[in-house]
Amino acid sequence: MEGIVLLSLLIILFLKVFALINVKQVKKSFIIASTAEIFYLSLAFLGSYGLSSALLHIEYQFVFRMLALLLLFEFISFKKSELLEDLKGVAFNVWGVVFGLAIFGSLGVSLITSKQLILNTFSANNLFDFGYLVVVINLIQAVYLITVFENLVIKNGESISFVKNKLLIFLFTFASILVFVYPQLYLILPQSFSDIKTFHISFSFDTGGIRLLFGGLFGFIMLMVFLYSLDYIKRNKIFYYFALVVLTISLIEVAFSDTFESFYLFWELMTISSYLLIMHSRSDKSIGAAKIYFLMCIAGAYLLQLTFSYFYTHGIESFSEIKTINITLAVLLLLGFGVKAGIVPLHKWLPIAHPEAPSSISAPLSGILTKAGIFGIILTIYLFKFNNEIFSYLVIFLGLITLLYGEIKTLYETDLKRLLAYSTIGQIGEIITVLGLMSLSALSAALYHIINHAVVKDLLFLSAGILILSAGSRNLEDLKGIGKKMPFLAFPLGVGIFAISAFPPFGNFNSKFLMVYSSMNAHNYVVAFGLVIGAIIGFIGMLRVFKYIFLFNPHRDFEEVKGIKVFVTYFLAIISFILGIFPNEVMSFINSSIFYTLHQKVQLIPFVLHIPFSVSIMILGAFVVFFFAKKSVHAGILSALFSFLALIELSFHKFSFGIFFAILVVFMAILNFIYAARYMDHSHKPYRFFANFIIMIVGILGVVLSKDIYNMFFFWEIMGGWALYLALVHEEDDYSIREASKYLIYNYAGAGILMIGFSILLNYGIELSLLKNLTLNATLTFAVILLTIGFLMKAAQLPIRIDYQMHPKPAPTPISGYISSVMLKTGPFMLVKVFYMLIATGLLINILTINDIAHIAAIIGVVTIIMGAAFGLLTNSMKRLLIFLTVAEIGYIVAGVSLLTNEGLAGGLLHLVNHMFFKDLLFLSAGAIFYKTGIDNLNELGGIAKKMPITFGVFMVAVFSTAGVPMFSGFVSKWIIYHALMAKGYVFLAILTLLGSIMVLLVFVKFMHSAYLGKSDEKRIEKVDFYMAVPMVLLAFLNILLGIFPYVMLKPINFILTQFGLKEILITPSSITLGNDVLNTFSLAVFIILGLVVAVSMYLFKKRVRTTHIFLSGVRDLSKKDLHIKADSFYESVTELILKIIYYTKKVFGLKGGYVER
């Protein structure tokens, strides 16, 4: 019997293939294809049930195909040709609708689909494998029918105006509609052989929990799409809105339907309506793309149908009735849903369909249609009761492949919409990977991410649509600089780019954090690192878009676009923002829906955003500055004013480590703002610069004032995120864009590592103070290592690619100075918190583990000192030199705090404060030179000391502080650090540290000589003015004050030591005592000053001062330039040695070349 059935199936297959090959001869091939259906009658051999289903099938097919054939005849007689090519576009009108009804009807869209019954017959007879053959047959038929449909209806051509055989067509149309409305009529005949009424005909909807969540999400996004479409869609409106309505209804119903029957129906309707919408432009390209989309999706749907047949034969008719599921079925479901979701390798339709569809359709295509597929996968996963290892590994594997594939593809794509489609694949990969973890927390995180992604991806596509409309092209080259010319239009796209890259304050940040958390909750390191790596790659891709849209200069004009659609994008941006700042509310909603559906409680992680009052002041300041300050001076003064208010607010708090740091942060902010008020006055858009600058400070303040992991990390990402980037690329030339992007990516990678570390900690609690009660086990040790790496990365330690880790040189000097002196300190700040809280437990295991980690951190710090200083010797750029030295100086801080002794911490923290003052001072003085001369290269400067005495004076103070000349601040902290290093027994580190210190001195002498002293050209250079002088002089004063009375800072540092349970170091207002050694800074200063007085008093004997020419051995024909020793002529043998070391070090790692000045 089976043989006969198989044979007839093969015949059907053959006939269908034959028809497909001859599709050009429409009439003949259609008749052949239709005749093939009769062979389904062979199912009668499998019993009466088979006969019934075959009869029903043939009834349906007869009705639909007769209708199609009748219309076909009309078309042929109208066009007087049987060839497909000649019939193009003949039915783009009401007859096309009827024809479509016939075609899609025969494809099997109906209630009680007869195809389902056929498949059930096979399953019931243990011939499940035959089902695959039926799927293939159906697919081939689909290719054929779709080819006919798109040619006759969608393609452009002359349309038929009237039909002759109206009566018959009307009759069959009526019969076709009856299939949907009153299918019982068709059941009369089949039911006479067997009872096929065992399936539900009616719909039953499960409306609650996860389904409601999906339904609501679909509904909301479709509403946005409708609003957007109102003035976006100009052509074929009826066609468009009809399909859109069908799509909306079917999407919502897919989420709500529980029985297979209704699920399948709406699933198909969703596919068909979206298929029609993709072809909205009716171009050949879009038709081709839509075809691929449709065929892939329908193939998936047929697989689903096949799976359902297994359940039907076991008497299961809805998802909720399924009790167990085996792996084969699960894989079939995964394939079926996976096509829609876009899992690699079933993703092909995404990059093809998205660019061709109108933007208003690409948005839901990416945003929610893929989510329908994910909805199915979620169903599958909870059918498994979250417990099947093989399936879990499979899903994770596919997810990671999808993630990496999608994100890597974004790197090279130039078509904006295709790029976004690839980004969707990547994001879907993330979600699938996390779902593969098969845990409740993973489900909760994935749902959050689904919501966020739906909103943000819609935002991106809709906003891209507007830009594409304005530019008339999807190519990034053509969109270059549109954000500069049309900032209002492009703004939401920028929000979308940073939102999808998971930057706060947008929703994706929370969900990504939760996803990484849930992977660590399941102890799955592969997933966690996969997510982070994928995100980094994706971010590089998205940043590229940002650069094109906002930063590169436009080379063409763009059209103005207006209307509701623009506001829709803004609205979506706001939604994403809201999803970002109310994580707790969103999560409790998600968790309650999970509870409703699965009756299982998900542990709620209390992600609650606390914004300290001082931070709110600064945020307000950012807004005020952005909207009201149009001139640099106003912006600077306003910013300083708000910082001052925050400072006042902070001074009311009880003293703690955080407050101590916060006060320094705000204090430095005031100085830098005042300085920048003048510095930025030649630059464009000062309000943007200052607002972003403030937001960055908001991040730092938030970090240091945060009490729990979530808030800390939230602000951490604000600090190193978009605000920083926008401030860094302020000049918007290629160089600054490149460097700022490198730095942002480096920061992003560091934050990714931190995210994993924090995710591990989250399993133990959310408060940062929990570190005080932890016992380090293997997992936690790993977390601490990750955190250490992350914090060291922020502090620009770990000298691997120093050009990436350093903050970029071309940024405006005030912010460079601020980053160097303040922002980078958050790394050591957090390092101190983590290390010292963990050893404050007093547990031996903690102390030993942290000691090992900290030892390595100290070594890294010291190596960085040497490396930074060595590169400082090589470079000739003023600012890069200072940045190299920043990296080096923070090495001292890290080395100090990593000693885990009270001396080490005191020295490290004191150096942290000192470095804040002297490094900022150095930057400000360098900035003053740059502001007045516009030159950054030391080789081109010379003799400025004569023209800028104040700048030179404060520069020398800073140099003396940095180099550690007694009486200046750096000396004291270095003294403590050396003592601590030696006390700990790290003698080699101490020697290297001192070597670094001398190298720093060398670097500065080079700087001093080539910029300030020596000969100069006779250019007119003016002194700095009030705004720039005041901060510099104040900082210089602080450097000297802290050099003579370090007590002022050591007193609060002693408080901090006691807070960490360490012994205070012995200080008096004038001296510091470590062991047997006393550093009496006061008496040191007194006696040196006495010495100075003695020496200077010798000048009382001076007779006469005469100005002369310098001695040149009689040579007279040298210009001033010839007489000036340039920066790159300094220290030949030393630089040669360093270059050799670099060369060979690179060789060891298999790299070519030496030092490259970037």
Partner: protein, 319 residues
């Protein structure tokens, strides 16, 4: 307070050190001359040189940063005179009780070089600029050598936990045997000799000033009158300080408890110290700067590291 002022201004710092140092500089010249078959100046030559300089007018180059050019020398002078007050003198003076540890010593001893650099750099002479550049190159290496020697001693004296206090190092050797007798420190002593040669810029390291062959007086080329005199005096103080440091490091030997005897013994040791370097001064020719740099980075660094390793090994009980 008045005792402190006396210690600072008259003895053992201040005037005493200054006078001793100036005579030592003369002595050095005499010994070198005698070894080269010349008669040499009288012993008070440097003294009258300094006095003479006070009577000259100060010449300031046209393009120089005048204030830095004029007053740079005071920094090194002040630092050394302060350090001579803080540092103990074996058997003679206890030290000021604070600010006398190795770290401060290392930093203070770098200050005369910094004032050379400032003064030279500010003079706007290309000769001075080249000399400054050379001095720094040397400094990079000889400071490290000094640091390694100092830390070796600190570790050895503290038996593993570093003792940085100069007084403790001195007392340790007074109670035990001086380190000059310990074979482990012999490489370090050689390295220290090279360090002194380099920091005083005696041959073979006479590359940055008094180098008549190329940069002539180097960073001092434009200096005259009082600034130059202060530089001279700084040199005098420096040679005394180096002698003291050498003695504290390696042979803080005393004869009994009598201060005067010990003082005479100290002066005798200083004379020997200076004469020894004069001998070296006389027999060596000068390096080129790149040779000097290479030599310094290889020989004394290695020697001092050998001592450091030996010290660490002996602390661990391996030798």
């Amino acid at each position: 307070m008045s005792a402190e002022i006396i210690h600072f201004l008259i003895f053992p710092g201040g005037l005493f050190a200054l006078v001793l140092g100036i005579f030592m500089l003369s002595l050095e010249r005499i010994v070198v001359a005698r070894l080269q078959g010349r008669v040499g100046p009288p012993i008070y030559q440097n003294f009258i040189d300094v006095i003479k300089l006070f009577n000259k007018e100060i010449l300031v180059p046209k393009d120089s940063k005048e204030i830095v050019f004029m007053y740079a020398p005071v920094l090194g002078f002040a630092a050394l005179i302060a350090m001579l007050y803080f540092i103990p003198l074996p058997g003679v003076y206890e030290g000021a009780g604070n600010n006398s540890d190795l770290i401060i010593l290392i930093y203070v001893m770098a200050l005369p070089a910094i004032s050379h650099i400032l003064g030279g750099s500010a003079s706007s002479s290309p000769y001075a600029a080249i000399a400054v550049n050379r001095e720094l190159k040397l400094m990079l290496v000889y400071e490290v050598v000094f640091v390694i020697i100092a830390f070796s001693i600190a570790l050895y004296v503290g038996k593993g936990s570093a003792v940085l206090s100069l007084k403790d190092i001195m007392n340790y050797q007074l109670n035990n045997s001086p380190l000059i007798l310990d074979w482990k420190f012999w490489p370090a002593i050689v390295a220290f000799v090279i360090f002194v040669l380099a920091t005083m810029e005696f041959p073979p390291f006479q590359v940055a000033h008094h180098n008549d062959a190329d940069v002539m007086d180097g960073f001092l080329i434009e200096h005259s009158s009082i600034p130059l005199a202060i530089y001279e005096m700084t040199d005098a103080l420096k040679i005394v300080l180096l002698s003291i440091v050498f003695q504290i490091f390696f042979c803080p030997c005393v004869i009994g408890g009598d201060v005067v005897v010990n003082l005479l013994f100290f002066i005798a040791k200083t004379v020997i110290f200076v004469m020894f370097f004069s001998l070296l001064h006389a027999i060596f020719a000068s390096f080129r700067i790149d040779q000097a740099f290479k030599f310094l980075i290889i020989v004394p660094t290695t020697l001092s590291l050998i001592t450091l390793v030996l010290v660490i090994l002996s602390i661990k009980g391996l030798i």
